[in-house]
């Protein structure tokens, strides 16, 4: 059963706990609004996120993945966000190679005080993905999963 196939767009946002997740919290505190397509997953640091986890999110059915960490030079764990950026660039390459839009994965940097910027980033990214349309992988998710479960 796919629970959210009728949802127009599903974006998974991996947010680091110290900055981006806190910025998303602040966006709420400030009662800002942004499109509801974004589902946030908290991770300790964007440096923790590995390439496969992002790719699998797309395979499971996400139309896009947002990776949001601290400002560069300001990582709580010193340089996890730099590692993450490199990884996101690599993922973009992979996506291009398999014929998927590289724009479906993006790295964002923000401080915990940047609630407004989180909302803006969410807004812009959601608009970008809406214009790209649902991921072509959506239709094939069943096959992919079947393949994995074999």
């Amino acid at each position: 059963m796919n629970l959210t196939t009728d949802a127009p767009i599903q974006i998974v946002a991996f947010c680091c706990r110290y900055c981006a997740y806190a910025a998303a919290d602040l966006a709420g505190v400030l009662r800002l609004t942004y499109p509801p397509d974004i589902r946030i997953v908290q991770i300790p640091c964007t440096g923790r996120l590995d390439t496969l986890e992002v790719l699998h999110a797309l395979e499971f059915g996400a139309d896009a993945v947002m990776v949001a960490g601290c400002l560069e030079g300001d990582c709580h764990f010193q340089r996890g966000n730099i590692e993450a950026r490199t990884r996101v660039e690599r993922i973009k390459e992979i996506l291009s190679q398999i014929g998927l839009e590289a724009a479906r994965v993006e790295m964002f940097n923000m401080s915990s005080a940047m609630g407004k910027q989180f909302a803006e980033a969410a807004q812009e990214f959601a608009e970008r993905i809406a214009s790209l349309g649902p991921s072509p992988l959506r239709d094939s998710t069943y096959e992919i999963k079947a393949e994995f479960e074999m």
Binding site: N2, L3, T4, A7, Q10, V12, R17, Y18, C19, Y21, A22, A24, D25, L26, A27, G28, V29, L30, R31, L32, T33, Y34, P36, R39, V41, Q42, I43, P44, C45, G47, R48, L49, D50, T51, L52, E53, H56, A57, F60, G61, A62, C70, L71, G73, D74, H76, F77, Q78, R79, G80, E83, R87, S112, A113, M114, G115, K116, Q117, A119, F148
Partner: protein, 1518 residues
């Protein structure tokens, strides 16, 4: 210093005053060392100035990002108690046992109940400037200090009781309903009125309105028309549907009888009914309302209006019995009433006028007259009528008789009309109706003919009163002024009195207590009677409230006489108001007066004369209110709050607290630059302070981080910074130390935001004196193009059209200017430049409150209020056991404040170590349930958060959906999941349903996870079996516009959380034993101090020194700084050496070097070799690195090539030997007698790249020493910037006064040093101001060689695995917030090893390092593990990726472990030091590392569950 001599009992707690970053750090240090901490903060939340900052220099770290985790840690630390809204009034006792007196200011919100949801904010009608945003934006009177505030609780800004409310006998919250009227919220305004007054209809029309008499607005123009506003609300709600009153629930069994349905009786009935009692009102007359009904004519109070109020009271369930006179109240008690209230008020008997002829026919009392009219009883009156009396009743009677057709009506007033208790227009209206006013007139006798009135003899009143034979006060009369008016009717008004003569004679002497209104008969209360009668309706209402409260207390068995504390009443002076008027805060605006009925309709009918305000008028009139109390007490917040957290009746409390030590961290206030009027702050909108700019730059500031001009919101294209505003000026002889860097930071951020914006900084010297500052300053110039101009501006003016600022200044010659007016080689001339925005870099000052604190505590302060501390004991005040930290003792930046704070914690620890742990608290949890064999049983708890979540999405639907998910065995929704009763529900549901996983769908885990984790632990579950779905911050609050979509998203988030929680496993922290001793490397002043501080706290210390004696740089320093220090370096050294020698806990190892160190925090093992080649090992729990530095001795400026070129330290040695002091090394061979002209060159060699901080001060010290040794000697200092930060500025001033010459050189034109064969020195330099080359031939050239890192720093760094920066200084964990520790746990640094610094700075840093070290040493074991990375050696190929990628250099290849294929050598991550970022996990190509709690499958389950039901199997193959 140690606690061994103390005789009294030592209290194991510390009071920290000030919740800024310094106070926070001191609190955390002490709490982690086992002390109980009380953190007193005068504001409503902790965070201080740092919370206001956008970024911090020199790393541009986000201030909130770095501060916020510390705030949360402080807020939830078991051993830190936050005392918010608290001031310290005094401290008695002595170190180890102080008693502190605290003033706890009312916050009006219960911090424990408030959940920070903010529902109260939109309903608050009062808008105030927001001081957190430096008044650049507005907030409500109910507010939170800042969005991330800790505690996350609101406060109410209420100064006290507004004068209008204080003046009202019933305490009517006038400011409250006025504020609501101003917003057009009339129905709510009506609610507020009713809160204090059940007769709004009456009091809006007939009150004597003492409120208006006390209205502050009267000091400006005219009082606010409070009564008209009340009437407006009544009329409005009547016209647009007054809300139906529901019966009050009967919650109490007792019945109360109220005798008398006047204002007092009905108010009492109203209150008692609302309290839940049964109430019966007995009224002798056929109608209810008392004098309101029968004493006031309809043209002033329409009967229907009054009836509305009475009906509302009856609707509560009050039973009314009219025509029911009561003679024996005791009978009612016998009949079963539990209490009786006599509220019969004014007597119906007529009182004597005291005039001759008053018994004649045609004389009637006004009360009787009005009663008969109002009850419709027949009455005959004549055509010529006089009304005697000066009250409202007289006016009423006159107006009524006019309406009844009297031809001529005279109204005799014994006072001028202005003194009547009526509005002037009310008097004018009566006059306009044709009634003749006889002012200053009193009746002397009534003339009669055959027992019928024929006229009155009047007389003019004179000044003063007399008492007649009947004891009445009467006005004196002017002799001979008598005159007679012929009349046929006389209506007399006399003071009406209440009495109880209607009662059975048995009760004739019945009286009620003045306060409690209780009579001698238990259960019988008396309102009225001889002593307690009321004159005005509102007073009667007040009595009604009072008697109801008394009766309630009586019935509840409580003492009747309870003193209720009240907040202070506000009173403003005419001067204050004049000032606010002048500042433009208040504008003159006369009162809006109500319209009156046209004259022709008035005298022919009983229609209401006063027509009331229109809506537009009412709102305008309401906006005239000055909001004296700030909070208006409209109670709208109380209605909105779902947590019952608001209590407007809180009052200030004074409390005592026992503590062992006190740390003062009250911080600074920014200089009020309005006082320097020449800079236009407050007058010119586009002049802002550096703190205001900080808020403008901040993403959560008033402009969301967009820099806008306050005047027009435009982005400024040209910005000027003016430095040293309130520093280094006529009134401040110190440097504020932070402003140069903060301006540089702000300039960089401005250029970051808007690269087109030009920034120019006007300054005297660039004081970039600390680690990384010079590089930052250079980057600002070179990379960001910030322009620095060395001058003080000569004037600043505003262009009135554009509101831009015109700055006039004298540029330094040769500087590049944007205007091309200066041709090369022409003398400098005054320039004028226009800027869109001017920023004043305001300095640090001590606030009057802080000064008061210092005075209250009896500690020494200087003229500016800065705290005096003991020489070379930098944080000790003049009173033992009281410490001062942060800018309170000298202007300083964040890391230095943090160092101070830790140092103070250390010193407090020295005194209190015997009581360590005695007051700290710990929670006992039940044993944990083993769930490994259990299948997941998930409980989901969905929070309404009042309406914060439930208002925007369907919580029930989310709960229902959750209950359908696999593994979910229980789903429930809770009103407030975080409330205490809800957490107990969760706890009992865990037990009841044998849940082994919990999902809480509520707010953010960042603030609330620990709360629910605690709940799991209490129920015997591992706390890591919790997942939270953030359906508030990430859902309901951001998708409030679409309930369907928000509900759907909440379902998704809950499902994802269930997916995650199912995959979670218990996590444990293991306890690792701690070697409770320290290793200190380096035996200079820093190392010695650190060793002593730890040893004094009871920890054994090994002090290792490379040289053959302790002392380091102190051994080659011979002089104190003149007029700065009194203690010489030798004294300091001797003192330290003696103490170390005497301390049995310190073992010194001289001439030893570290060869190897292994282990981790709590368990280090280090190997040393001494100069004999002997090797030994030391086990230690912590390492403090204090290896110092050395003086640079490079070839710059000809050093080493000429005997008369010296370093500063060589000069000091020369001076020492000249004064006969023994020197460690031989002095330079120079004949001191021949030294006349001396030149010093600053910024030599490496100091051109980084500022070595101490060189300026050292040069000035030596210059002054030279001057005092040889006053004729000319000393010339060639410098780039003089960086005498903080109080060292006084040294600079002193040097200039003593004749030291300062000559600046440009870094592009360094001084040239030449020396010929004749051994003479020649120095050439270009004067940058005059652009003239100068040549000197000095006798001595002294080079201010900077301090450079010690030799061997790099190899030591490798051995300890700690980093050094590119200049070779050891690099701390975080430049701002962790200045004395390394990123690797358990290793700390102090002194010059960190960066060049002055002796007292090294000492304080050493004490700070000792404090941080003590947080580890204080416990015999420490926790390790938790959410950390773990290697599966069986999958590890030993590729070193993790070793390379870890930011903390923690993974290593353990050769004792077998990896893939049984090959020896696999990665090992030490659990006690892993930071848990997971960078290695993502990088590991073999997927051999997992981050616990964020395992691959745990992250992926959560994502997978967004698309599918949560499953138990792995979502994918790896």
């Amino acid at each position: 210093m140690t606690n061994e001599n103390q005789t009294h009992e030592v209290v194991g707690s510390v009071l920290v005053v000030g919740g800024g970053i310094a106070g926070i750090q001191a609190s955390l240090d002490l709490a982690e060392q086992g002390y109980r901490v009380y953190l007193a903060e005068s504001k409503s939340a902790i965070g201080g100035h740092m919370a206001q900052l956008d970024k911090t220099f020199p790393t541009n770290d986000c201030a909130m990002c770095t501060l916020s985790p510390k705030l949360v840690d402080t807020g939830r630390h078991l051993n830190i108690e936050l005392l918010l809204d608290t001031e310290v009034l005094g401290v008695k006792g002595e170190v180890g046992n102080f008693s502190a007196t605290l003033r706890r200011k009312p916050r009006y919100i219960d911090v424990d109940k408030c959940i920070g949801c903010g529902l109260c904010v939109p309903v608050c009608p009062i808008t105030l400037p927001d001081p957190f945003n430096e008044d650049l934006s507005q907030r409500k009177a109910i507010s939170i200090l800042y969005p991330q505030a800790v505690p996350n609780a609101y406060f109410i800004d209420k100064l006290g009781i507004a004068p209008c409310r204080a003046a009202c006998p019933a305490g009517q919250r006038a400011q409250g309903y006025i504020a609501l009227i101003a917003e057009g919220r009339y129905k709510e305004a009506f609610r507020v009125i009713k809160e204090d007054n059940p007769f709004p209809s009456v009091c809006g029309r007939t009150c004597h309105h003492p409120c208006e008499g006390h209205c502050t607005r009267a000091l400006v123009d005219e009082s606010v028309g409070i009564m008209s506003l009340k009437r407006f609300v009544v009329d409005y709600t009547l016209a647009y549907g007054r809300e139906k009153v529901d019966p009050a629930p009967r919650t109490r069994p007792e019945w109360v009888a109220v005798v008398g349905a006047g204002p007092a009786g009905l108010t009492a009935a109203h209150d008692l009914a609302k309290m839940g009692y049964g109430v019966t009102v007995f009224e002798a007359l056929p109608v209810a309302g008392g004098m309101m009904r029968v004493g006031i004519p309809a043209h002033r109070l329409p009967k229907g209006v009054l009836q509305q109020d009475i009906d509302d009271i009856l609707a509560l369930g009050v039973v009314l019995k009219t025509n029911s006179p009561i003679e024996n109240p005791q009978q009612l008690l016998k009949e079963g009433y539990n209490a009786v209230c006599l509220a019969t008020g004014i007597s119906t008997r007529d009182h004597s006028l005291g005039l001759e002829g008053e018994d004649a026919e045609g004389v009637i009392s006004a009360a009787t007259f009005l009663r008969k009219i109002n009850l419709g009883e027949p009455i005959t009156v004549g055509e010529r009528v006089a009304v005697i009396g000066g009250g409202i009743t007289a006016l009423d009677a006159a107006a009524v008789i006019r309406r009844l057709g009297a031809k001529e009506v005279f109204l005799a007033l014994d006072r001028p009309r202005g003194e009547l208790p009526a509005y002037h227009w009310e008097v004018a209206a009566v006059e306009a109706e044709g009634i003749q006013l006889l002012e200053h007139t009193t009746a002397t006798k009534i003339l009669t003919e055959n027992g019928v009135v024929s006229g009155i003899e009047f007389a003019r009143t004179a000044k003063g009163m007399f008492v007649d034979e009947k004891g009445r006060r009467r006005p004196k009369i002017e002799p001979g002024s008598e005159f007679i008016i012929e009349l046929d009717t006389v209506i007399g008004t006399v003071g009406q009195q209440s009495d109880l003569t209607y009662l059975h004679p048995h009760f004739e002497d019945l009286t009620g207590d003045k306060q409690t209104l209780a009579s001698e008969i238990p259960g019988l209360f008396v309102v009225g009677g001889r002593k307690t009668g009321a004159s005005y309706i509102i007073e009667a209402v007040a009595l009604g409230h009072r008697v109801a409260k008394s009766i309630d207390r009586y019935l509840q068995g409580e003492p009747l006489n309870q003193v209720e504390e009240m907040p202070p009443v506000l009173k403003f002076t005419r001067e204050e108001m004049a000032q606010r008027l002048e500042s433009g805060e208040i504008q003159l605006q006369p009162k809006f007066e109500p319209a009156l009925l046209p004259m022709e309709e008035r005298v022919t009918s009983f229609r209401e004369v006063v027509l009331g305000l229109t809506e537009q008028q009412a709102r305008a009139e309401a906006q005239r209110c000055l909001q004296c109390g700030l909070c208006a007490e409209c109670l709208a917040c109380v209605e909105a709050c779902g947590m019952d957290a608001i209590d407007h009746n809180m009052v200030e409390k004074v409390e005592e607290l026992q503590v062992g030590a006190v740390i003062l961290a009250p911080g600074y206030q920014a200089y009020h630059a309005e006082l320097s009027q020449e800079f236009g702050l407050g007058r010119y909108p586009n002049v802002v302070t550096s703190l205001q700019l900080e808020r403008l730059l901040n993403a959560s500031g008033p402009t969301s981080g967009h820099i806008q001009r306050p005047s027009d919101g435009r982005t400024p294209k040209k910005i000027a910074f003016l430095q040293c505003i309130g520093s280094r000026d006529q009134t401040h002889d110190y440097c504020s130390a932070i402003c140069c860097m903060s301006a540089t930071k702000e300039a960089i951020l401005i250029r970051d935001h808007n690269p087109d914006t030009e920034v120019q900084v006007f300054m005297m010297d660039a004081r970039a004196f600390s680690k990384g500052y010079e590089g930052y300053y250079r980057r600002a110039k070179q990379e960001y193009g910030v322009q620095y101009t060395r001058c003080r501006i000569s004037s600043l003016k505003e262009d009135p059209d554009t509101k831009s600022l015109i700055v006039r200044y004298m540029p330094e010659f040769g500087m590049e200017t944007t205007s091309s007016s200066t041709a090369p080689n022409s003398p400098p001339q005054m320039l004028e430049e226009t800027f869109d925005l001017v920023v004043l870099s305001v300095g640090m000052e001590i606030s009057p409150e802080t000064r008061q604190l210092g005075e209250n505590l009896g500690i020494e302060l200087d003229d500016f209020g800065f705290c005096h501390t003991i020489e070379f004991m930098p944080v000790e005040t003049s009173r033992p056991g009281i410490y001062a930290v942060g800018p309170f003792r000298e202007p300083k930046d964040i890391p230095e404040s943090i160092i101070d704070a830790s140092a103070a914690a250390s010193l407090a620890g020295v005194y209190l170590s015997s009581a360590r742990g005695s007051l700290s608290r710990a929670v006992q949890y039940p044993p944990e349930r083993d769930i490994y064999e259990e299948t997941p049983r998930v409980g989901v708890f969905v929070c309404h958060c009042g309406s914060n979540i439930a208002g925007y999405l369907d919580v029930e639907a989310v709960t229902a959906a959750a209950s359908e998910l696999p593994h979910v065995v229980h789903a429930d929704h809770l009103l407030y999941a975080c409330s205490q009763d809800s957490t107990s529900v969760i706890q009992s549901r865990i037990e009841e349903h044998e849940l082994n996983r919990v999902v809480v769908a509520s707010c953010t885990p960042l603030t609330h996870a620990s709360l629910f984790q605690d709940c799991l632990k209490r129920a015997g579950l591992n706390e890591h079996l919790l997942a939270m779905a953030n359906i508030r911050n990430h859902c309901s609050w951001v998708h409030s516009d679409n309930q369907k979509i928000a509900t759907q998203k909440a379902n998704d988030l809950v499902r994802m959380a269930v997916g995650r929680v199912v995959s979670l496993e218990p996590l444990y922290k293991e306890m690792v034993p701690v070697q409770q001793s320290a290793l200190v490397i380096g035996g200079g002043p820093a190392g010695m101090t650190a060793a002593l501080t730890l040893a004094d706290q009871g920890f054994p210390v090994h002090l290792v020194e490379r040289e053959d004696a302790l002392g380091g740089s102190l051994r080659t320093t011979y002089f104190a700084i003149p007029e700065f220090d009194t203690k010489g370096p030798k004294e300091v050294l001797d003192d330290l050496t003696t103490k170390i020698a005497e301390n049995p806990r310190i073992t010194c190892h001289l001439q030893c070097e570290l060869t190897k160190t292994a282990g981790f925090a709590g368990n280090f093992n280090s190997t040393f070799r001494n100069n004999n080649g002997e090797v030994f090992e030391i086990e230690h729990g912590v390492t403090i690195l204090a290896t110092g530095g050395r003086e640079y001795q490079g070839p710059e400026y000809g050093y080493g090539s000429h005997p008369r070129i010296l370093t500063q330290s060589e000069l000091e040695t020369l001076l020492a030997s000249e004064t006969g002091l023994p020197t460690l090394s031989p002095p330079p061979e120079i004949d001191f007698g021949t030294v006349n002209q001396t030149i010093m060159i600053q910024c030599v060699g490496p100091a051109e790249e980084y500022c070595a901080r101490t060189c300026c001060i050292t040069a000035l010290k030596n210059a002054l020493l030279l001057k005092s040794e040889k006053p004729d000697c000319q000393v010339i200092v060639l410098y780039r910037d003089i960086r005498t930060y903080g109080f060292y500025e006084r040294l600079y001033k002193d040097a200039r006064e003593k004749g030291v010459i300062f000559l600046r050189y440009d870094e592009r034109h360094r001084p040239q040093v030449l020396h010929g064969e004749d051994e003479s020195l020649q120095i050439k330099v270009v004067d940058p101001t005059l652009q003239i080359p100068l040549t000197f031939e000095p006798d001595l050239l002294v080079l201010s060689m900077p301090l450079v890192p010690s030799e061997g720093n790099h190899s030591l760094a490798t051995k300890l695995k700690v980093p050094v920066d590119h200049d070779g200084w050891f690099l701390e964990a975080h430049v701002k917030l962790r200045p004395v520790e390394f990123a690797s746990d358990g290793i700390f640094l102090a002194g010059i090893a960190h960066y060049p610094k002055m002796l007292d700075e090294s000492i304080v840093q050493a004490q700070a390092a000792a404090s941080r070290a003590a947080t580890i040493l204080s416990y015999p074991e420490r926790q390790a593990g938790g959410a950390i990375a773990k290697v599966d050696p069986g999958a590890c190929v030993g590729c070193l990726t993790c070793v390379r990628v870890c930011p903390f250099e923690i993974p290593r290849i353990d050769t004792q472990v077998q990896g893939v294929g049984g090959i020896w050598g696999a990665a090992y991550i030490e659990p006690s030091v892993c930071q848990g970022c997971g960078t290695c996990v993502a990088a590991c190509p073999a997927e051999a590392i997992e981050l616990l709690h964020y395992r691959h499958n745990q992250v992926e389950y959560q994502v997978f569950s967004l698309f599918e039901d949560p499953v138990t199997g792995p979502p994918r193959k790896r």
